[in-house]
Structures are given as structure tokens and as C-alpha cells.
């Protein structure tokens, strides 16, 4: 039995040893949409920001602030998904960079850089200081050190700037075609990816508002971003081989009840979405709202979301978010005229979401009748912009709403009233590290401790030290 024969016997006939970058990047899009943005982080965020009330098991624990908010296992799947995406993206970036097997594939390089910025920002927004400079070297570095959020944000902006530069270059490589689940991969898709990159720059510049406000830049970036909903970074589900996370979570787990505090905010505004967001648990039954912070741990009792559907898309970044960012930036600059224009556009776009589907005319009526009258001065305008953004983000964009609430609280703008009485001592200021690092990486374990830091320590952009 020679070594050659033994090699032949041991040959892996079941898996490819290498694949091209276009076959890798597709799953990064799916994973970023479904696993990172759409699932666990959004579910838990939606409890903390009272889009939903956790009424059973893990979500109930999150609601009553027992175990889940401080446990390292809670967000472990998201933690791993993000790092795996970043590793896959690193693989694409190496392949498409100088010396790589697809050197000069600027399209895939640029898209990979946008998705890297996107995943990395979600990671640090949720968890604060995290392993980054030494991360993504499996089998080489076993215990990556933790980097400062400030430094990580520098890299996020670099990724986006490099991406914009690369996507503006000519490339002899083909477009992604149907491997691009977000923009369809034709020639026009490249422009949309560039707009997405600018949109993210606007989002993350706004994120820095407590540390280094730069509202002019937010407006500039936003203006370079999506001009309408057809350009937004949206991931669609077909309902059979891909299923929308909130609806699938209801089908598989059924852990949410309709939130009283969200319902109250809508009724206070005579908001037509109140009739669209919620439905009774059983068709024809009564619609009972769950009390925030003290629901009965029971399934089948409270009303549920009526906009969860098996094909409801996940927004990596929506057009209405761009308008709300602009509105906030203008309002911060006390340019209320432009702020109102952007706010109205944001509301109209949010009402037009596929699972809400309120006509432009009705949306404008709502704006005129219910919103505009409360926009009295800078403070009230700013506040209503943020509340409207919060309402517009129900329920797919819960994680970004959670980021906003933390930033606003840090800036002293408690615009969005939360009713969970436990928030007096137990508002989760951040998410815990993933248990797969807590158990194997001493740096992360030391930072994690017993997890109670989530109630006391802000992330850096919200004024914290870690």
C-alpha cells in the first residue's frame, strides 16, 4: 500500500477543495440577512425596545430580565454567524485582491468590503469592544485579543470607502448575476451597492453623534444613497426554501405577544398601523395586549404581530431609514423645513412596506393630520422623527431601533418611552459575548465575567468605556 494509493483512498470526493468568490458571497448575503440582521439579535432587541413582549421561554426570560440578557449563550449563534461571515468575506477579499486568484475582481471585492463593514458594525454595536485585529485566524491565533470599538469603527469606515472606490473601477470579471440575492447582479446593481455603502456611511456617522457629531456628512452620505424603496438593500424570502425569520420564529417557537407600549404609542397618534400591526392569537378572538415587563407566561393568550409573514423581507438597510437619518440630521441642525420633508418621505415609504401596504395618499393624510401638528419646534420635531422611525422599524428593523434608543438615551434624548418597569435597573445596554469565546478565549471570558455588565456598561459610542 503506497502513500499514493492511500492518498487516493483518503481522497475527499464529497466536497470541493476550492470555489470561486461569486459562489461564496451569495451565502454571506443570505446569512447577513437571515441569521445576523433578521433573527436572534432582532428577536431580543424587539423585546428590549418593546416592539414585542416576550411571553414564553427564552423571550419571556428576556422580558423579565432573568438569565437571558446576561447569559453568554443567548447571542452565541449570532456571534458565530457574524464571525463566520467575516471569515468568508476575508476569503473573498484575499481572492479578489492583489496576488489572489481573482485579482482585479473589483465588483466582488467591493461588495465583500461593504458586507464586512455591515457585519462588523452589527457585531460591535451589539457587543462593544470585541476581538477583531487578531480574529479570523483559525488554527493560528486561538485566543484573539479584544479591540476597542473606536478602532473597529475606523476599520468600518475604511471598508466602506475602499468598497466605493473599488466598485467605481472597471473590471473584466463578470457581474454576480443571480448569485446576488440583494440586487440581482446586473450592471445596474453596482450603482445600488455603492448607494448602500453611502447609506451605511450615513448610518454609522449618525451613530457617532454623541462622540463626534457630523450631521452635514450624514446628509451628504444620505443624499448619495437610496432615492426610493426600489434601491434599498432588501433580502426577499420565497416562503418555501427561504422563510422570513419573524414568521418562522412564530411558527417554530411562538414566544411573542403584542406589546402594550407599542400599541399605546400608535393609538396616541391615531395611527392607522395600529389596526395593521396586531391581530388576535386566534382568528375571531379578542385581541389582548401583553403588559410590558410582567406578562403571563402563556402561549395562545396574547395578540400577535399581524405583519409577520413568511415572505416578509429583511432590510439590511431600508430607504425609509435613509429618510429618517436625513430628517434627524436636519432637525439636529435646526433646519426644520428639510427635516419635515424627509420625515414625510420616510413615513410614506414605511407605510408602503409590502406587509403594511398603506397608500401614499393615506400616509400623507396621516402625516398632515397626526404628525405635522405636533412638530412645534426643534425639540418636538426631533422627538417625533425618532418615534416615527421607531414605529417604522417594527418589526424587521428592531436591532437598528435598539441602536437608536441606546444612542438617544446616551445623548440625553429619552424620546421613546419604554414601559417595562424593570428598566429602572435592568435595561440591557448591550448584548453579551458569545459563549464559544467565553469558554475558549480567556480574553473574552475575562471581559464577560458573570455577564452583569450588560446592565451597567454602555458601549463606547454611547459614552461607555468598552
Amino acid at each position: 500500500c503506497s502513500e499514493d494509493l492511500m492518498d487516493d483512498i483518503n481522497k475527499n470526493v464529497n466536497d470541493p477543495a476550492n470555489v470561486a468568490s461569486n459562489l461564496i458571497i451569495t451565502d454571506v448575503m443570505t446569512n447577513s440577512a437571515f441569521s445576523v440582521t433578521g433573527s436572534d439579535l432582532a428577536f431580543y432587541s424587539s423585546v428590549y425596545i418593546e416592539h414585542n413582549v416576550g411571553s414564553f421561554n427564552q423571550m419571556y426570560n428576556a422580558e423579565i430580565r432573568s438569565n437571558e440578557p446576561t447569559s453568554s449563550t443567548t447571542y452565541n449563534n449570532s456571534w458565530n454567524s457574524i464571525y463566520q461571515n467575516l471569515l468568508n468575506l476575508q476569503d473573498i477579499i484575499v481572492k479578489c485582491s492583489e496576488g489572489g486568484s481573482e485579482e482585479g475582481n473589483f465588483y466582488n471585492l467591493g461588495i465583500a468590503q461593504i458586507l464586512s463593514a455591515y457585519n462588523l458594525a452589527i457585531l460591535t454595536d451589539a457587543m462593544g469592544d470585541v476581538p477583531w485585529s487578531e480574529a479570523l485566524q483559525p488554527g493560528v491565533i486561538f485566543t484573539p485579543v479584544i479591540d476597542k470599538q473606536e478602532a473597529i469603527y475606523t476599520d468600518i469606515f475604511s471598508f466602506l470607502d475602499d468598497a466605493i472606490a473599488n466598485l467605481n473601477k472597471e473590471s473584466t470579471f463578470p457581474y454576480l448575476g443571480n448569485q446576488d440575492f440583494i440586487y440581482g447582479g446586473d450592471e445596474a446593481s453596482i450603482d445600488n451597492w455603492i448607494k448602500f455603502a453611502y447609506g451605511l456611511k450615513a448610518r454609522y456617522t449618525m451613530r457617532m453623534s454623541m462622540k463626534s457629531p457630523n450631521y452635514d456628512d450624514v446628509i451628504t452620505f444620505a443624499n448619495n444613497s437610496f432615492a426610493d424603496a426600489s434601491e434599498q438593500a432588501q433580502f426577499d424570502y420565497n416562503g418555501t426554501s427561504s422563510k422570513s425569520p419573524f414568521q418562522q420564529f412564530f411558527l417554530d417557537r411562538d414566544y411573542f405577544g403584542a406589546s402594550t407600549s407599542l400599541h399605546n404609542k400608535l393609538t396616541a397618534r391615531n395611527d392607522p398601523r395600529d389596526a395593521i400591526f396586531f391581530k388576535p392569537y386566534d382568528e375571531g378572538g379578542t385581541l389582548e395586549f401583553a403588559p410590558n415587563g410582567a406578562p403571563s407566561q402563556e402561549q395562545g393568550k396574547y395578540g400577535i404581530s399581524a405583519i409577520s409573514s413568511i415572505t416578509a423581507p429583511t432590510y439590511l438597510m431600508s430607504y425609509h431609514e435613509i429618510e429618517f437619518l436625513k430628517a434627524e440630521a436636519y432637525a439636529r441642525k435646526n433646519d426644520l423645513v428639510n427635516a419635515k420633508i424627509a420625515l414625510e418621505a420616510g413615513i410614506v415609504a414605511a407605510f408602503a412596506k409590502t406587509n403594511i401596504d398603506i397608500s401614499e395618499a393615506d400616509a400623507m393624510d396621516y402625516y398632515t393630520d397626526e404628525v405635522e401638528p405636533v412638530l412645534l419646534d426643534q425639540a418636538t420635531t426631533l422627538k417625533e422623527i425618532m418615534v416615527q422611525k421607531y414605529l417604522a422599524f417594527f418589526e424587521e428593523e428592531a436591532f437598528e431601533a435598539y441602536n437608536d434608543i441606546r444612542r438617544l438615551r446616551a445623548m440625553g434624548n429619552n424620546f421613546i418611552q419604554l414601559d417595562n418597569p424593570l428598566n429602572s435597573t435592568k435595561f440591557p445596554l448591550r448584548f453579551t459575548y458569545g459563549s464559544e469565546d467565553v469558554t475558549t478565549n480567556v480574553n473574552v471570558r475575562d471581559a464577560y465575567g458573570d455577564g452583569s455588565y450588560v446592565y451597567t456598561e454602555n458601549v463606547w459610542w454611547a459614552g461607555g468605556s468598552r
Binding site: 500500500c1 492518498d7 483512498i9 483518503n10 475527499n12 464529497n14 466536497d15 470541493p16 470555489v19 459562489l23 461564496i24 458571497i25 451569495t26 451565502d27 443570505t30 446569512n31 437571515f34 433573527s39 426570560n61 432573568s66 438569565n67 447569559s71 449563550t73 458565530n80 463566520q84 471569515l87 468568508n88 476581538p131 483559525p138 488554527g139 491565533i141 486561538f142 443571480n178 440575492f181 420565497n238 418555501t240 426554501s241 427561504s242 422563510k243 418562522q248 420564529f249 411558527l251 417554530d252 417557537r253 403571563s296 407566561q297 402563556e298 395562545g300 393568550k301 458569545g434 464559544e436 469565546d437 469558554t439 475558549t440 478565549n441 480567556v442 473574552v444 465575567g449 458573570d450 455577564g451
Partner: protein, 1034 residues
């Protein structure tokens, strides 16, 4: 003055007359031997003593006195020193010559209570081994682990060798984390205990070293029944029928006061039983009948859905007892064998049928075997052994997919069996007392399927050539070619309507073929009267090919047709693997004066599954036995029959599986998802990402260096014997999937990186306190104490996940025994006292809090004692086997969940005040009283919200004492039915005498891999059996 003495010598084993027994007047050479019917006749004086002896039987001395008829029952010598036993690679050696520990179990010990599962049949009968059962489900997986574990995530079970052919005994698929789906049987299930003549367990590495890479976990050598040893010329036909009835071994203690509901209010759709008192349900404002024309009754909406009158009077139900049925096990076997002048043959067929105690569980197995041997001439012998098995198992799912969740925790107020389980006119819309996270157990019995079907053939053919090269030099060469081939098809179906959704189907399976070519040449050289030398040289080639397939379909279009063609999303995959091991080996033995035995072996293996240029390994062993009782001065000590000291050293390895790093299709199962919410190809598009598990190209085999020392002593004509063995194994360079920090972007790295050691103490005691012509009593005790400690893991790794949830999980950790349970602990102060929450505004005021996660339990037992005893009186024999497992803990999910749901007896008192046993931050004892009239939900908060989130609360000791087997057998005397041996016996199995674990039988858990035995969550319970059997031989 002499007189004529006559009598009959019979065997205690079967009551038959024994031919050829030597009957001698003690101190003389005068005597006789028994005839074919066991009768003898001789002349002797009244003062003489008759000595009855026969190879392998306990000799007996009987003074004649005034007797003229002396009948004797001969008992098998449990510790026969001259026994020849089968060791590694089929080499037969005198037991006396062994320098290592081997233990033999005979057929009648295995089949005493008709257990169809070999692992169960071995429980309590061998020292140094731990047999882990997963559940009482027919065909449930079980594991034998000899002298602790050597591998963290790999295989720790011994190699099985049947009639010289190594065969597959492990499951083709691991149950992985073991928190979803059904158990997967291991392939030792295909063996029929009735076909087995004897089992030799080679415990240490020195005993097994000749098997090379596969030897590290010990070897179970199985010899099947053959025609050898029978009376020549006459076929022997034997028939066996065993039937037993199985019942659930334990019923949990339920609370019987409180109804379904929450916070003291009845709620007809919640999984919780924290509602109102059952007898006050008619007063419920929503569902009560008092005051609205249904006095004394309350409304159950589920009855309405089922088209029935919803008004019922409150009543208490025991849904557990209602659910379990009496299962039964029936095994039938027929065997024909014959020995001839030139050889022998044996043909047998066995049929086993089992119906489980849980609905739609069962097993059916057919076994057929044939073996023959023929001596062609004085040099050549040929033979073969062929076995066929067809096994089908119907199972239920556990843990997160638990079929029995509702059986365990249905509210006492709800009649799970009596109320309808589907909507009128729609058999696929379930009616249930709770949300459909789990299915209604009565609904799933008709709609879900977990099934496996195996067809298997294994056997071998051989040719032997032997000749004398010189007067004192024998030469023998044997070539054997064997095959083990099986195909298993699995179906996991959640029917249309399962969990309130449209169901899923998973068809998967494996075809596995192993070819084994073995050639051995041996030289026996009698150098002189004192010195004997044996040399063996050989070559073994083992080649395995496996192909697996997997078809997964989600969302049936409509009910009643649970077929993959009815599924809307279908994915499929297949995989093929090969591996080959090529070994050269040699064994050299030298014996001097039957007193000193030296044995050395060496084997070199080349394994294809390792990286290039790292495939060849050499494993040596040496053992020495010194029979002190052969020394003249020891011989003169009458009461010492036999004394041997032995020692051995061996190194053996275990190969890993190396692959070049590769890309793979992403998978979206796990986490919160029941199925896979995303499946590729998605809209006709596929994608591949770097595989999460990486491989180290410098992988080398893990090595086990072990030594053992032991002593075998026998006293007073073998009436008392003791074997003691101390063994130490040092395992270095363990191969496992080193878990990587999530922040590396990958999941694991297959590399060398761990050390464990085991210290083992094994004691076997044999005592025959009483032997008379009519009555014999013997006792056999096996004691094992194995400490298995993890010394080192790869840099940066402190633990390895073996199964379970993120927490709690089963893992291996440095400095801990292997394996341990890890999870959230109580928050404690420096003294280790449990702290309580002192915030008076908190709902859990005065209750414990969860602290940092850590090791919360250790699974391995401190020691295991197995004891069997036999009383033989004339034709009656009474046997019992006990097992006592001391120490070790488990995660008892079911216990914790009974508390969470408010169904355990512990939760019955909800009206008294209580002070949780704990401490305050200042070190004083907790004095915060909760509960009572002003605080009615405190008990629920404690059990349902607080303790349920502290994994440590779920940890229970699972020490136990069980009466494994009790059997009473009667051999009909030949005088009643001439020429026919008829034996009747009755037995009971698995009587739990005592256990530390509340509510459940401790031998019920999740998983068919290294996490087995320590993690339980809605697992199927064990059974207690009662049965009888008939054996006929003519």
C-alpha cells in the same frame, strides 16, 4: 471389606448425565469413569473417599460411609485454570499463561433472562466495564466502555470480533448534540445473544495490542455456537422460546391538586399547571359552570373542538400511567448442530419481536447463522461462519422533539388519553392541552414515524494448513477472508400537522462494507521439557467503504401521504468514504515449566485516514505471568490451589480522520429553528463556504501507553478465588475537534491536543460457599473503580463540547473527570453558599439567583459493583444478578421541567410560606419568607421562573442498586421425558431497588455517543420485565 457403589453424575448446567467423569478412590489409582448416561459402578470400602473430577468442573470429594448409591451433581469451575481461551486474533491460549486480564462470559449467563440486547445481557457480569443504556425503548442504543474513555469526541467502545472477523458495532450516525430527533441504534444490536457460545472481554491494551490501531478500547471477542464438542454422529436440535412482559419501571410523583393554568387561574391552553385548585374549577369566572347552568362542572374547550360536550366535572388524571402500555418481548430460536468424525456444523435461526411500552415503538429481528468446519486430511482444514441479521426498529423522538413531553407533564386536570387528539373531520389538526411546540403523543402515534431497517451479513471463510516440521516443531498457517456488510435505511417523519405545521420527512441511510483479510503463521517449538516457544507472524488488511445518502423534504402539501414526493422543499446529498488499514504483526511467547510465561507482540499499521507520510505506526506490548503455585514450597500449602502474579505494558494508538480543508454547502438548522428555514439551492442558486471544521496536516495518531499488574489467587480447591487488576492508561496526543473561539470564524480544528489518564482497580471474587451432591451455592462479584481524568487540552482550550445545549451541556474539561456537565450555577458567596436576591421589589426576592456558568456535575460513577449468585438444588436453580452503581450525576431535564410546569409533587404545597435555603450577602442565613396568602404566586415564581433558569438545580445524583436479573430454572429429569432435555424458567429483569434520582429510572438518557448516560430530557423511560422461557434439546 468392599461393597459395590453405583450412582449417576449429572451436570448442574443442564441436568444431563455426564459421560467420562473420573471417579477415583482418593489416594489410589483405582477407579472408574462414567458411561454415556453418566452412570458408574465400582467397588470400594466404607472408609474410602471418592474423588469425582472432570475438566472444567469443580472436583468433589465424598466419603462413602454407609452409602451404596452416590449421585453427584458437577458444577462448572468458574475459575478453571486450565481453560483454553481465545485471545487476540483468534489465538488460543491457556488462561494460566496470560499476563493480562481477560474475562469470559458463557452463553447461559447471557441468555438467562432472554434479553435481546447483548449489552444489557452483559451488565453486572464483567469487571472494569461500564455499560450505558440510553432508554427502555426497543433497540435503544447502548454503549460498552472498558476502563474509562480514551477519546473525547471519538469512539470509546471496544472492537467487536465475531468468530475472528472484526465487525461494526457502533452507530452509523451519531445523535450529535442529542437534543433533537430520535435515538439511533448501534450495530451491536444485530447480534443475537442466543447465537453466542461465549464472550471474552480483552480489557487492557496488552491483551488487545495485536489488533493495532483498533485495540485501544479493548476487544469483545465473540464465539458463536458451533457443532464442536457435541456427541459425534447424532444431530442435536435445540429450541428456545422466551417471552417477557415489560412495564414502565417508575412513575413520577405528581401533584394532584392544581389545575392547568397560570398564576392561580385556570387556563386551558397553557403548558403550565399553576392554575386554580382542580376542585374549584367550576367557580372559574371564564370556564366555570357554577351559576350558568352547569353546576359543579367546568368547560374544556378541547372537547368542543373534538365535537363533544365541553362540560366536565373536575377529576384528577394520571396521564403517565394512562399512556404506557404493557410491552412484550418474544425471542424464538432453533438450532441444529452435529459433530462428525471429520468436522462439525451448526445452523440456527432466531426471531425476536418486541413491542415497547410507548405507543408505536418496537423491534423485529431475524437472525440466521451457519457455521461448519471440515478436516480434509491430516494437513488441511476448511470452514466458514456466516451470519445474517435483519433488524427493524420503531422509535420515538426525545428532547426538543420529545414525543413524550406531554405524557410527562400533562396537567392532572386534563384527560390526555380520553380527550380527542384531532379536530372533528380533520385528522391533521391536533387538539392538545398546550401549544404545539411538542405534538400530542396520541396524535403522533398515528402521524409521526421514526424507523430504521437494517440488513446485514457478516462472516468469514478460512483454510488452515498444519504440519509437523520436526518432532518438536509444529507449523500452522491460516488464511481467513471475512466480510461485514450492512445497509440501514432511516426514516424520520413529522407528519402533516406536526407541531401545527405541515411536517417534514428525512430519509437517510448508509451502506457499509468491510473486507478483512488475515493470514497468520505460527510455529510451536517444544525446546525441551521445561521450555516452550511459540512464534506468530501475520498480516491483516482491513478495507472499508461507506456510502451515505440523505433526502430531506419540508412541508407536505396534504395529510395522509407522508412521502418525499409530497414535500415542497426537497434537498438531497450523498457522501462516500473509504479507508484501509494494512497491518503486519508478530507475537513471541516463551514459557518455562508452566510457571513463567513471557509474551511479546508488535504490530505496524499503515492507515489511509491519516495525512501523507504520517500513516505508519508501530505498537509493542510485553506481558509476563508468574505462576507461583508451581513453586514446590507453595505446592505444599494445601489450601492454595493457584497463585499467579502478572504484569504487562503496551502501547496502542487510535487513528484520526484527516481531510484537506474544503468548502461546503451552508446549513441553516439549529438554534430556534425546528427545520431548516433556508435551504440551498435557493431559487436555483447554490453557494459554498469554507467548512467550519478544519484539519491539522500534522495530525499524528493518539497514543495510549498502559500498564497493568494483577494477581490471581484460588484457594481450597477453587472454592474461593480472587482476581485483582490495577491498570493505568496514559493517553497522549488525543485527536479531537479542538473547539475554536467563535471569533476565529471557524468552529473546530481536528488536531492532536489532549491528555487523559485512567486509573483502574478491578476485583473479581468467586466464592462457592456450599457444594454438596444436591445443593450448590456460588457467588461472583465484579468490582470496578475507574478514574478518568482530563490532564491537558490544546492551548487555549479549556473544554470540549460533547453534546446537549449551549447550556447545560456535556463536556470534557481540564482537571475534571471525564465527562462533566456544564451549565449555569447558583450565585454563591466565597464559602460556596447560595445567595438570595435581597431586592424587595424583585419578583424573585428571597430566591436564588443564577451566577457564572461552571461545572455542575460529574457523570462517571465512583465505582460499580456487579454481583451474581446461583443456588442449585437438584434440578432447580435460582440465579440473581445485582448491580450497584455508586456516584456520578446527571442532568435530569425531566425532573426540572416537572417543576417548571408545576406538575411535580414538590410543587404541590403552594399555600404555605417558605424560606429558601440560602444566604444573604452579609453571610447570614436567608430569612426572607415568601408565599402564603398575601404572596400567592411565590411558589410558581420559584419553580417556574427562577430555578428553571439555574441548570445546577437540574443536577441529580444517579447512584442506584438494581436487581438486574432474577431467574428460577427447572431442568426436567430425563426420567420424565426420555431423550429430551426440557428446561423451564421464569425471570424478572431490571427491578430498581433504590436510586438517588427522584421520579425516574436513572438509566434513561439522551445520545448514542460520548455524552451518553449524563443528559436526560424527556427521554424514554426504562422498563421492568417479567417472563418465562422454555428450552428443549434432543
Amino acid at each position: 471389606q468392599t461393597k459395590q457403589i453405583t450412582g449417576t453424575v449429572t451436570s448442574a448446567d443442564d441436568g444431563m448425565g455426564m459421560p467420562g467423569v473420573s471417579v477415583v478412590i482418593k489416594g489410589t489409582t483405582v477407579g472408574a469413569s462414567t458411561d454415556i448416561d453418566g452412570k458408574y459402578m465400582l467397588e470400594a470400602k466404607a472408609s474410602d473417599v471418592l474423588l469425582f473430577s472432570f475438566v472444567g468442573m469443580v472436583s468433589q470429594e465424598i466419603p462413602i460411609g454407609n452409602q451404596t448409591v452416590i449421585n453427584v451433581v458437577m458444577v462448572t469451575e468458574s475459575i478453571g485454570v486450565d481453560e483454553v481461551i481465545v485471545t487476540a486474533l483468534g489465538i488460543k491460549r491457556s488462561k494460566k499463561a496470560l499476563g493480562y486480564s481477560v474475562q469470559e462470559v458463557k452463553s447461559d449467563e447471557l441468555t438467562k433472562t432472554g434479553t435481546p440486547d447483548l449489552a444489557k445481557a452483559l451488565q453486572g457480569k464483567v469487571s472494569g466495564i461500564d455499560i450505558k443504556l440510553s432508554s427502555g425503548m426497543p433497540g435503544a442504543s447502548s454503549q460498552i466502555v472498558i476502563r474509562g474513555s480514551r477519546s473525547f469526541t471519538g469512539n470509546n467502545t471496544p472492537l467487536y470480533v465475531v468468530d475472528g472477523m472484526p465487525i461494526a458495532s457502533t452507530a452509523a450516525f451519531s445523535t450529535g448534540n442529542s437534543v433533537t430527533g430520535a435515538d439511533i441504534s448501534n450495530r451491536a444490536l444485530d447480534l443475537n445473544p442466543n447465537d453466542i457460545e461465549s464472550i471474552n472481554v480483552l480489557k487492557g491494551q496488552a491483551a488487545a495490542a495485536l489488533y493495532g490501531l483498533r485495540a485501544s478500547n479493548g476487544v469483545v471477542i465473540i464465539t458463536t455456537k458451533s457443532g464442536k464438542g457435541g456427541k459425534k454422529g447424532k444431530p442435536i436440535i435445540s429450541l428456545n422460546q422466551t417471552t417477557s412482559f415489560d412495564i414502565v419501571s417508575r412513575t413520577p410523583d405528581y401533584q394532584k391538586v392544581w389545575s392547568q393554568g397560570n398564576a392561580g387561574v385556570y387556563g386551558p391552553t397553557t403548558s403550565l399547571s399553576w392554575g386554580a385548585k382542580i376542585n374549584e374549577l367550576p367557580n372559574d369566572p371564564t370556564y366555570g359552570g357554577n351559576g350558568n347552568g352547569h353546576e359543579g362542572m367546568y368547560k374544556v374547550p378541547q372537547l368542543e373542538e373534538g365535537g363533544l360536550d365541553p362540560w366536565v366535572t373536575p377529576k384528577v388524571f394520571n396521564n403517565w400511567d394512562d399512556y404506557y402500555e404493557t410491552g412484550y418481548t418474544s425471542t424464538t430460536g432453533i438450532n441444529v448442530s452435529q459433530a462428525t468424525e471429520k468436522g462439525n456444523f451448526s445452523i440456527g435461526i432466531g426471531y425476536t419481536e418486541q413491542e415497547g411500552i410507548a405507543l408505536s415503538t418496537g423491534m423485529e429481528r431475524w437472525n440466521a447463522k451457519a457455521a461448519a468446519e471440515s478436516k480434509l486430511n491430516e494437513n488441511f482444514t476448511v470452514g466458514f461462519s456466516a451470519n445474517y441479521a435483519k433488524t427493524e426498529v420503531d422509535k420515538l423522538s426525545g428532547a426538543n422533539d420529545a414525543s413524550l413531553a406531554g405524557v410527562l407533564s400533562a396537567p392532572s386536570s386534563y384527560n390526555l388519553k380520553g380527550y380527542p387528539y384531532h379536530v372533528v373531520g380533520d385528522p391533521y389538526s391536533q387538539i392538545y392541552y398546550r401549544s404545539l411546540t411538542f405534538d400530542n403523543p396520541y396524535w403522533l402515534a398515528h402521524n409521526n414515524t421514526f424507523n430504521e431497517k437494517t440488513d446485514r451479513f457478516f462472516g468469514n471463510a478460512f483454510v488452515t494448513f498444519e504440519t509437523a516440521l520436526a518432532a518438536d516443531l509444529d507449523f500452522r498457517i491460516k488464511y481467513q477472508l471475512g466480510i461485514d456488510s450492512y445497509t440501514t435505511h432511516y426514516q424520520d417523519i413529522f407528519g402533516f400537522g406536526s407541531k401545527g405545521k405541515s411536517g417534514s420527512i428525512n430519509n437517510y441511510g448508509v451502506t457499509d462494507q468491510t473486507y478483512n483479510s488475515l493470514i497468520t503463521a505460527s510455529f510451536d517449538w517444544k525446546i525441551n521439557d521445561d521450555l516452550q516457544f511459540t512464534a506468530i507472524l501475520g498480516n491483516e488488511l482491513n478495507h472499508n467503504e461507506t456510502k451515505t445518502y440523505d433526502q430531506f423534504g419540508q412541508e407536505f402539501n396534504f395529510g395522509g401521504w407522508n412521502h418525499i414526493d409530497n414535500a415542497n422543499t426537497v434537498t438531497a446529498s450523498e457522501a462516500q468514504y473509504k479507508d484501509r488499514t494494512f497491518g503486519l504483526f508478530s507475537s513471541l511467547s516463551l514459557s518455562w515449566k508452566n510457571m513463567i510465561f513471557l509474551n511479546m507482540t508488535g504490530r505496524n499499521d499503515v492507515a489511509s485516514s491519516m495525512p501523507r507520510d504520517n500513516r505508519s505506526f508501530f505498537y509493542p506490548s510485553v506481558s509476563l505471568g508468574f505462576v507461583a503455585s508451581e513453586l514446590e514450597f507453595v505446592k505444599s500449602i494445601n489450601w492454595i490451589t493457584f497463585a499467579k502474579i502478572r504484569g504487562s505494558y503496551a502501547e496502542v494508538g487510535q487513528a484520526g480522520t484527516f481531510l484537506e480543508n474544503y468548502y461546503t454547502k451552508p446549513n441553516y438548522g439549529g438554534g430556534f429553528w425546528t427545520d431548516e428555514p433556508i435551504t440551498y439551492p435557493l431559487d436555483g442558486v447554490n453557494t459554498y463556504i469554507p467548512n467550519n471544521d478544519l484539519y491539522d496536516p500534522n495530525l499524528k495518531p493518539q497514543n495510549t501507553k498502559s500498564y497493568e499488574v494483577g494477581i490471581n489467587l484460588k484457594f481450597v480447591n477453587n472454592r474461593f478465588g480472587v482476581d485483582y487488576t490495577y491498570s493505568r492508561q496514559n493517553v497522549k496526543d488525543q485527536i479531537f475537534n479542538i473547539p475554536l473561539a467563535g471569533s476565529t470564524g471557524a468552529g473546530s480544528l481536528t488536531a492532536n491536543g489532549g491528555e487523559v489518564h485512567t486509573n483502574g482497580h478491578e476485583v473479581v471474587l468467586y466464592i462457592t460457599p456450599i457444594v454438596t451432591s444436591d445443593f450448590t451455592w456460588n457467588v461472583n462479584i465484579n468490582y470496578s473503580k475507574i478514574d478518568n481524568v482530563v490532564d491537558k487540552l490544546a492551548t487555549g482550550v479549556e473544554s470540549i463540547f460533547l453534546g446537549g445545549f449551549t447550556t447545560p451541556q456535556v463536556r470534557a474539561g481540564i482537571g475534571d473527570t471525564y465527562p462533566v456537565i456544564y451549565g449555569s450555577q447558583y450565585k454563591k458567596n466565597e464559602l460556596g453558599q447560595i445567595l438570595v436576591n435581597e431586592d424587595p421589589n424583585a419578583s424573585d426576592y428571597g430566591m436564588p439567583m443564577s451566577g457564572e456558568p461552571g461545572v455542575i456535575g460529574s457523570i462517571s460513577p465512583d465505582f460499580i459493583v456487579g454481583a451474581s449468585t446461583n443456588f442449585i438444588y437438584k434440578n432447580w436453580s435460582l440465579g440473581a444478578t445485582f448491580e450497584w452503581k455508586e456516584g456520578g450525576q446527571m442532568y435530569s431535564g425531566s425532573n426540572g421541567l416537572l417543576d417548571l410546569y408545576g406538575m411535580s409533587k414538590r410543587t404541590e404545597d403552594r399555600e404555605s410560606t417558605f424560606i429558601f435555603e440560602g444566604y444573604k450577602a452579609d453571610g447570614s442565613k436567608n430569612d426572607i419568607a415568601r408565599g402564603g396568602p398575601g404572596d400567592p404566586n411565590a411558589t410558581q415564581v420559584l419553580f417556574s421562573d427562577v430555578l428553571t433558569n439555574i441548570d445546577e438545580y437540574y443536577i441529580h445524583g444517579n447512584s442506584f442498586i438494581k436487581l438486574r436479573e432474577l431467574s428460577l430454572k427447572y431442568n426436567f429429569p430425563k426420567t420424565i421425558i426420555p431423550k429430551v432435555d426440557l428446561t423451564l424458567s421464569g425471570f424478572v429483569r431490571n427491578i430498581l431497588l433504590w436510586t438517588e434520582l427522584d421520579n425516574f429510572d436513572p438509566e434513561s438518557s439522551q445520545g448514542n455517543n460520548n455524552m451518553a448516560g449524563g443528559f436526560e430530557r424527556f427521554s424514554l423511560p426504562q422498563t421492568t420485565s417479567f417472563g418465562f422461557s422454555v428450552d428443549v434439546k434432543f
